[in-house]
């Protein structure tokens, strides 16, 4: 009797366990996020830590983000020119490139590059400190690791990504202009004038708001997975991967949510 009910209810119980674990994970992340925000918004702050995070998250990401933006803008321009030609959309190519870059591709691609570069680095850094008990040593020295490790990273990621996105927007449009100049023979001045006449402040602003949310997600995922790394070097490796993957998935999901809020007329 017991075995039969076990056979029948086993899969159901497994499903329930999985759901409970998922809910528990959501709860852990939410609590971690709340504590992180509280630590970031209230003194004491560690200015040297914040500055060094700004450098590593924001400034040193510039080359990779710039390259991504340039090639994306160039490819987008070329695709819209050749594909949009079917319904004469090639004449509004600069405007479509500007819309696509500022509203969607700029923030999302900058965030994904940053997730790969920064979220994983944060996870491995904090994870290694956990594994070697440096975080515990910090607590012993009465330094709150949330203030010293987590808060600077959250602050730096949330503020850096909108700034990086601004650079992405500019360089992406420059990439589109370069393609249209050399391959399509459209004068750079006309391309730029069309773009500047067309885009509105809200196109750029909505992208920057998204970027702020994405930046917070990147910092949060990097710190959370690093802080919850278990089991030595292997655990750190796993934390690194899951920080990047979960950051990327959350970025794309929240991108859709934010866009559906912004796109309402």
């Amino acid at each position: 009797m017991a075995s039969l009910s076990q056979v029948l209810l086993g899969p159901v119980a497994a499903l329930g366990r999985a759901a409970r674990d998922a809910l528990a994970a959501v709860g852990r992340v939410a609590r971690f996020a709340g504590q992180g925000i509280a630590a970031a918004l209230t003194p004491p702050w560690y200015p040297r830590q914040i500055l060094s995070q700004f450098l590593s998250v924001g400034f040193y990401s510039l080359p990779v983000v710039g390259l991504t933006a340039w090639f994306t803008g160039a490819a987008l321009a070329l695709n819209i020119y050749s594909g949009g030609d079917r319904f004469n959309a090639s004449t509004v190519m600069p405007q479509i490139v500007a819309l696509g870059i500022t509203r969607e591709l700029g923030p999302v691609l900058a965030a994904l590059m940053l997730a790969g570069r920064v979220a994983s680095a944060m996870a491995s850094e904090i994870g290694a400190m956990r594994a070697t008990e440096q975080v515990d040593a910090m607590v012993t020295l009465s330094t709150d690791p949330r203030r010293y490790l987590i808060a600077p990273r959250l602050i730096a990621a949330t503020i850096s990504l909108p700034l990086l996105t601004l650079i992405t927007d500019i360089i992406g449009i420059a990439g589109g202009m370069q393609v249209s100049h050399y391959l399509i023979d459209l004068a750079p001045g006309i391309y730029v004038a069309n773009t500047v006449d067309f885009i509105t402040a809200w196109d750029v602003e909505s992208g920057l708001i998204k970027a702020g949310v994405f930046g917070f997600i990147i910092g949060l995922m990097g710190c959370f997975h690093g802080d919850h790394a278990k089991g030595g070097a292997r655990g750190v490796g796993r934390a690194t991967t899951s920080a990047m993957v979960s950051a990327a998935v959350l970025i794309l999901a929240s991108d859709y949510l934010l866009t559906s809020v912004f796109a309402r007329p």
Binding site: I167, I173, V192
Partner: protein, 176 residues
């Protein structure tokens, strides 16, 4: 901070490039150079697609933009406040006309300078105006006559002509 000069220099190069391109873009479109301007008003019977921010051109060159579009509740005319470059003085009998770049392109105001001795004063009004042409109304006017209205006109001569021409026609036939 970490002594990696290569990355620092690359980062600075990216920033410099973005800054230069932004400066170039603003220079090309003249967003940055907001020189001295003066205002004029103009009343139009049909505003068409003109919205605040639309271009004002003389001979196809941008000399200013539309600041505000309102309706005059007494005359039902569209009143536009234009901001023009201080260097461009317009004769008092200049004509303002609403045109568009292409078939469905962005509407703008083209000003044809007149020949009067005195210039329009700042705050003055361009009295000679020509509102937007309702393109689809025009197409409708051209197309509709084919079905009913001209059916009366060409049909009437056609109906009357054969009446008078028919005897001739029949008279001509036997001759051939």
């Amino acid at each position: 901070m970490r002594g990696n000069w290569g990355e620092t220099i690359l980062g600075l190069a990216v920033l410099a490039f973005a800054g230069l391109f932004l400066a170039y873009a603003l220079g090309v479109t003249g967003v940055g150079k907001q020189g001295a301007t003066y205002e004029l008003t103009a009343r139009f019977g049909e505003a068409g697609g003109i919205q605040p921010g639309a271009k004002v051109t003389v001979s196809g060159v941008k000399v200013g933009d539309v600041r505000e579009v309102t309706i005059d509740p007494k005359t039902y005319l569209a009143v536009m406040r234009l901001t023009l470059d201080d260097k461009v003085k317009l004769p008092s009998d200049s004509t303002a006309k609403i045109t568009s770049d292409g078939l469905l392109g962005g509407a703008h105001i083209a000003i044809a300078p007149g020949g009067a001795e005195d210039d329009l004063k700042p705050g003055g009004e361009i009295s000679n105006t020509q509102g937007a042409v309702d393109l689809f109304g025009l197409i409708g006017q051209v197309m509709r006559p084919k079905s009913d209205a001209p059916a009366e006109k060409p049909a009437a001569p056609a109906a009357s002509a054969p009446a008078s021409a028919a005897p001739k026609g029949t008279a001509d036939l036997p001759e051939m």
